[in-house]
Symmetry: C2
Subunit: 253 residues, 2 copies
């Protein structure tokens, strides 16, 4: 049994708590929440603390708080030489207080409070400073996920930027698509199969092979029709920039 305590009460913390409660070989010892009520629907009250001095000794402390709070939280852990991992895609391992053994446990997924997440297919990116710690972290990661990768801080930064493009920015394009449908009284639901197929396609084709549409064909008639239809300046600007980028990319191929 590996004992794990989780510090944090937001989206990621809550999803991790749920996952570890179901995991074999993991004892979820405690969770730290500034506001205990954030976690009472998930854990018994005696396992939730809002006082760092009440933290018990665990094999692993997982810090799942906002990026800018990670360093401060790692200072507050009232132990030394313990394994302490943060869960962020964009914070360096060196931001953790070196009085403990720093590590990273980064689940590469987008977590929303109102949607259940199955951790099994979620890649977990691990980083530690030595092999023994890696083995512990790997066991913990495998207890909830099927895919575990050793990823350096440099690689993780690249993954995180890339994730912003393929997840956050992609979702914003869904939002614009939704706005255009609303404006023209078309149900956005009609586009869902297209959205799913577009995502599914790149499991069998490279994004370059999968590219379709007027920009790919350099079909200026359609591009100009579309631009004249868009009433929102911001939408127009995004349309122009992404169209130009697709056309320029086509010239390089």
């Amino acid at each position: 049994m590996i004992s794990v305590s989780i510090i944090g009460s937001g989206n990621v913390a809550q999803h991790l708590i749920s996952a570890f409660l179901k995991a074999e070989n993991i004892a979820l010892l405690q969770a730290f929440a500034r506001d205990k009520t954030q976690l009472t629907h998930l854990l018994e009250a005696d396992k939730i603390t809002s006082d760092y001095s009440e933290l018990k000794e665990a094999d692993l402390y997982l810090i799942a708080v906002s990026d800018n709070a990670i360093a401060t939280v790692s200072d507050q852990i009232p132990f030394t030489n313990k394994l302490v991992a943060h869960t962020s895609g964009s914070v360096a391992i060196s931001d953790l207080n070196p009085k403990n053994r720093p590590a990273v446990f980064y689940p590469l997924q987008t977590f929303s409070k109102n949607k259940e997440v199955d951790f099994r297919p979620i890649p977990i990116c691990l980083e530690t400073e030595d092999k023994t710690d890696y083995d512990v972290l790997q066991k913990v990661a495998h207890s909830i996920s099927d895919t575990v990768f050793e990823i350096s801080s440099e690689q993780r930064k690249a993954l995180h930027v890339s994730a912003v493009f393929v997840c956050n920015f992609v979702n914003h394009l869904y939002k614009i698509g939704n706005d255009i449908c609303t404006e023209h009284q078309v149900p956005f639901e009609i586009l869902r199969p297209l959205i799913l197929e577009t995502a599914d396609k790149i499991t069998s084709l490279s994004p370059n092979e999968a590219q379709t549409g007027p920009a790919k064909r350099n079909d200026t008639t359609t591009i100009n029709k579309h631009l004249s239809m868009l009433t929102d300046e911001n939408q127009k600007e995004i349309y122009k920039l992404l169209t130009k980028s697709i056309i320029d990319n086509g010239k390089k191929l």
Copy 2:
């Protein structure tokens, strides 16, 4: 039995031919291809013609050619008062020669030559000039798809622009994500579960609810870290514009 002939030999035409060959209550009469060899892997030779004068009488002619050829092709059909539908998202119904009964049969999906497509979940958007024609077109659409919508030319234009955002532009963001991974020697496959979850999310959440990431949180520290990591000017420009758009949208909510 409704007899259907397909004019065209590209992606959409080929996927439609495959679908109608399996459909009940549909007799695929002929396909027209300028280059017959494009279709010989799908159809017997005597069903393929490259001569408009060889076209037989059918209940429906489906024009699946590039947008700018639709009008010309509709001129060539050697009949009058037949039901003739194009399959484009961005061409008006009025572009078809009025000597026949014009209609639109627009399957809202992205078709790649090398990936099989299941038509059942694909929405087909129909437009006709009268009710009797609509009934025929609806029967044909339902023979291959579970979801059929009556969509006006105006609505279809909006859907098509929207599809460019949620499909073509989204795929281009996948391409940029792939490029960043390659540059930093991280396997792009790590991002696939995130990509699928991002698409899947909006079947249960609105895009506004589903939005996450540094721009959503207005986390300028992370945003600046990301910008300093990107080496490609085009990637930087896209990052800045989409980040600004997400931040501005947050202010409106």
